[in-house]
């Protein structure tokens, strides 16, 4: 078994160390760090608007995957820069980093906070990539035992946990999933070939392109929010003077980083839970270990190290269910799943046997990308800090143009562009009403697979519904799904999210 991993890894490094792939990884890390650092452009948005462009470049599957996962890892690193210096989290998981990062920056320790969080990101991402390497092949073997009934339960679990944890209201989370699933039904029925919900519109025959939906719901909706706020909630930020390596703090944080990585990785592996839960649990557990003496929330170095290690470990962990089962663990991995589907790669256990070059090339690139990112984010962090000065009045129009050109060059149709704007409006209204948008994306991505699984299960059992609960695996998944949906209702009072620091 161990020999297998080493042999596979050497195949992977053979691919990843080619000058071309290496170049893509470096470009991806650089772009990703910028995207993460830009206030108002989180990892999901950034990866979403880059996918159509990557696709039109005509890269092969491995190259495209290496480029985009480097962007993904880079954005997770870069997100901490705007969290610490501007008190603006790029996305949900980065919120925890602002809690101690921004107070540290206000005390004149911005450089220290950036270095500590950079090293913590490295530890988290590195350990998670090792974890991915060890766990993914094992889970791929288990995944072979999955039949249609198990897959149906697994998809349900993903919707339940994602909705249950990410939202403040279960009904709204379930509604978001239904909107996505309902949209996925549009187009030709996979099994019978009959059109559904197309109302005679030829554009709808192929269904709604998930990239159009993703770019609309994430990027275009963000533009509307900036117009509403006039870019005003971009607070003034803190100046960064000298960057030195605070060795004493780093040594004091070693235990925190390792524990937080473990917590984050496990949270990331859970389908649907993802990075937000990872950084949240990592922060809260370290806070309770440190106790009152830890001074969490007032600029404690460990309060910066914990969520960053947890966040990045969860990002790596989220790749495990995404690659082995085709079920993403977070918004950004949902976007990466969209990338795989665009490239015609079907994630799942067979990916590990049929396309080992893709899987192990990707894992090796992630290991390399981590070292590249450590170099970019600790000694070269000052370059990326400059990115924060891009005003929203330039950034958001730019994001819009890139979104339009990306979708336009992908499909060349007015209909898709108009649909993208419509998804932007939908995304704005949903977010205003506190309805999460990630389940909508997940629904559009997984809807057809979920229906296929259910229909194949019904064919196998000749219409007997009890077949859905007939194996220990599927019963376990159903129980987890119900628990994942209901438990947050009761835990919401206990696990109250800390409020962001205000000036």
């Amino acid at each position: 078994m161990d020999m297998d991993i080493l042999a596979n890894l050497s195949v992977g490094f053979g691919i990843a160390l080619s000058p071309y792939t290496l170049m893509l990884a470096v470009i991806g890390c650089f772009l990703g760090t910028i995207i993460g650092a830009l206030p108002g452009l989180g990892p999901s948005n950034g990866v979403a608007i880059l996918i159509p462009l990557t696709f039109t470049l005509g890269l092969d599957a491995t190259s495209a995957l290496v480029l985009m996962t480097s962007v993904y890892y880079g954005a997770m690193y870069g997100g901490r820069i705007s969290s610490i210096l501007l008190n603006i989290p790029g996305d949900e998981p980065a919120l925890m980093t602002t809690l101690d990062g921004y107070p540290m920056a206000k005390q004149g320790r911005a450089g220290d906070a950036l270095v500590i969080s950079g090293v913590a990101s490295f530890v988290g991402a590195f350990l998670a990539t090792v974890g991915l390497m060890l766990l993914a092949p094992l889970l791929a073997n288990v995944a072979y035992l999955f039949g249609p009934a198990e897959y149906f339960a697994l998809y349900l679990l993903a919707f339940c946990t994602l909705g249950g944890i990410a939202s403040n209201n279960q009904a709204k989370a379930a509604l978001a999933s239904c909107i996505g699933l309902g949209i996925a039904m549009i187009g030709l029925d996979n099994q019978s070939g009959m059109p559904r919900f197309t109302y005679g519109n030829l554009h709808l025959m192929d269904g709604v392109d998930f990239l159009v939906a993703i770019v609309g719901l994430f990027a275009v909706a963000e533009v509307f929010f900036f117009i509403e706020s006039h870019g005003k909630n971009t607070s003034i930020g803190v100046v960064l003077d000298k960057v030195r390596v605070p060795w004493r703090d780093l040594r004091a944080c070693t235990g925190t980083m390792i524990r937080a990585s473990g917590v984050g990785f496990v949270a990331g592996v859970l389908p649907g839970a993802g990075a937000s839960l990872g950084s949240f649990l990592a922060y809260m557990s370290e806070k309770s270990i440190a106790g009152a003496k830890g001074k969490f929330g007032t600029g404690a170095p460990r309060g910066v190290a914990a969520p960053e290690a947890g966040n990045n470990a969860a990002a790596g962990g989220a790749l495990v269910p995404m690659l082995t089962l085709g079920v993403p663990g977070s918004g950004t991995t949902a976007v990466l799943l969209a990338l795989l589907m665009t490239l015609n790669i079907t994630p799942g256990p067979t990916l590990f046997t049929d396309r080992p070059d893709v899987v192990w090339g990707l894992i090796a690139s992630l290991l390399i990308a981590n070292f590249v990112l450590l170099a970019m984010n600790v000694p070269m962090v000052k370059i990326f800090v400059k990115v924060l000065m891009v005003p929203p009045a330039v950034l958001l129009p730019g994001v819009t143009m890139i979104s339009f050109v990306g979708i336009y060059s992908l499909s060349g149709s007015y209909f898709d562009l108009t649909l993208m704007v419509a998804f932007g409006v939908l995304g704005y209204v949903l977010r205003k009403l506190d309805i999460p948008t990630v389940p909508v994306i997940l629904g559009i991505l997984l809807g057809n697979n979920m229906e296929d699984a259910l229909r194949r299960a019904m064919i196998l059992s000749d219409g007997d519904v009890s077949f859905l609960f007939s194996s220990p695996i599927s019963i376990g998944l159903w129980v987890a799904a119900v628990a994942g949906f209901i438990a947050p209702m009761f835990l919401r009072g206990v696990l109250k999210k800390p409020q962001a620091v205000t000036d």
């Binding site: 209201n169 709204k172 239904c178 309902g182 009959m194 559904r196 509403e228 009045a393 143009m401 993208m420």
Partner: protein, 145 residues
């Protein structure tokens, strides 16, 4: 309160229409025990239930923008749709410059800055898309210059 109730009611209506239209799906001669209708109907029912919960247990009212901002957002939507339709017949440079200027002005009311942003983004992105990424964009319609 009211927003959730209104949205919930809209969800119920849309879900009912969705279910009704699911029943209209033509059956095929190759049928499986579940058919093409069942899953969409389940989705519609669950969505309608969620809408019902929103009507009867609404959350606090969100912070809706004022009329002026709603107007600005409506203009933005119109401009974006217009941009979508202008991109092919009018080429990349001119529609992009105009749209980016308007969007930039909507975010921060600084006219000169907005015009410079529009021009800069239009030319800068064209160079990147055309020469660095090799996308087949048309700068201006044929025969204009």
């Amino acid at each position: 309160m009211a927003s959730d109730r209104v949205f919930g009611a809209v969800v119920i209506l849309v879900a009912l229409a969705y279910i009704a239209s699911a029943f209209q799906i033509q059956a095929s001669f190759m049928s499986d025990p579940m058919g093409s209708k069942t899953f969409p109907v389940i989705i519609g029912v669950v969505a309608a239930l969620c809408g019902g919960v929103m009507v009867f247990k609404p959350d606090e009212e969100p912070d809706w923008p004022g009329l002026a901002t709603v107007g600005a957002l409506a203009i933005t939507v119109v401009v974006m749709v217009g941009y979508a339709y202008a991109l092919k017949p009018l080429g990349f440079l001119i529609p992009t410059a105009i749209t980016a200027t308007i969007l930039s002005y909507q975010i921060q009311n600084r006219p000169v800055f907005a015009v410079l942003t529009g021009l800069g983004l239009s030319i800068g992105l064209f160079v990147i898309f055309k020469y660095a990424l090799g996308l087949g964009l048309v700068p201006v319609p044929k025969g204009w210059f």
